[in-house]
Symmetry: C2
Subunit: 226 residues, 2 copies
């Protein structure tokens, strides 16, 4: 990737009364931690926790391995921080379920947010998937508490929609799992999708169309297609 002749620190970091070219300690820490977390997410997504070498992450981040271990003592700690970041964004997407009381708009918003998440954070989605396939050793707490609470509340909402005759009488869990699975599929199985799409990744336009199709299928599944 091409870089501009002047680097970040001399342009972006300029502040009044400070030399613009010298990077400040706090910024160094912040930048390096972010760099390492991004690299780690990518490599963990590719090879999983056990299959990832900290040296690989260091290479991906463009740092010596010893430097990585200066910022994150152990691989386990680094992995947990990566998971935490993903979890935060996952929950942010989840909150869109409540943008509206009407099933049509709520489902549309939620599917859109989940598709957006798959588009923006494909590596995060894969780390999440791998973690659960490994028995969710690090996520057990979250799954059993926060996620469960969230799911129970949404299940009640869906049941209400059914009771009020707003949607067909579907099993709420089955519906939620279908939405999760379908939207996450676009991140987790991206490689398969690309190959079946003649080697080309979906561009922005294609992705928007696909999002619309997923919304249509989900709405149809509960009897909401006009």
């Amino acid at each position: 990737m091409p870089t501009t002749p002047c680097d970040r620190s001399s342009v972006v970091d300029a502040r009044a009364g400070e030399p613009a070219y010298r990077t400040r300690k706090k910024d160094i820490r912040e930048a390096n931690e972010a760099l390492i977390l991004a690299a780690a997410e990518k490599v963990f997504a590719m090879h999983g926790y056990q299959g990832t070498a900290t040296g690989q992450i260091a290479v991906e981040a463009g740092l010596p391995k010893a430097n990585l271990h200066y910022y994150f003592k152990t691989k386990a700690i680094l992995y947990r921080e990566v998971l935490q970041h993903i979890l935060d964004d996952w929950m942010k997407a989840a909150s869109t379920f409540d943008t509206c009381n009407e099933p049509r708009e709520a489902l549309r918003a939620y599917v859109t947010a989940k598709m957006e998440f798959s588009r923006q954070r494909p590596f995060g989605s894969r780390v999440w998937a791998r973690e659960i396939m490994s028995g969710a050793p690090m996520l057990e707490d979250f799954l059993g508490t926060s996620l469960k609470t969230w799911v129970n509340a949404r299940v009640r909402i869906i049941r209400r929609w059914v009771r009020e005759g707003k949607i067909e009488p579907v099993d709420p869990h089955a519906l939620l799992y279908m939405i999760w699975a379908t939207t996450q599929h676009y991140a987790d199985f991206e490689q398969q999708i690309i190959i079946l799409n003649n080697g080309k990744a979906l561009d922005d336009r294609g992705y928007r169309q696909r999002t619309r199709q997923v919304i249509r299928l989900v709405l149809g599944s509960v009897g909401l297609q006009s």
Copy 2:
């Protein structure tokens, strides 16, 4: 696990004219290869290719590591054989798509077969998922040839259904991906599903009900719910 006082070879393998208690060489090979493949599928499903140690597989199979390497020279060869087995079963499930020309029955049969696959071969499903998340280095050939051919043919069938007004005008790829994602979710994310189900795995009855729900959602998504 408790064992019966008399072992398999003396009971099952009894054949006329041969000493029943002595295991024959061919049977040894067959049994050990099957044992190792099953163990490997399980461990690969848990930790992925890179994250799996051949020693772990050996322990899981109850054999010394050197013995495992006697039957499968390298980890890569063993992994490829595991993948091949999964692929065969995946294709077998795929063939059920063609049991009927009518969308309702075809989709019902296909979803049922895929759900059955998730139930019977959860480890296989996870190995598959991990392989694709790693960029499908070993599956690229298959994805680009056999699978692509299969998908193209099914896409044409779905388009025909749309043209004939038998189903709503949905994107065939989006529909297929939704079916794959949703059915495989029950294998790949089993742990999450268990936790959200109060720590209990779905029993046979629950699984059949869930299968019916998935069928209902899929049929609904294309406008086929009565």
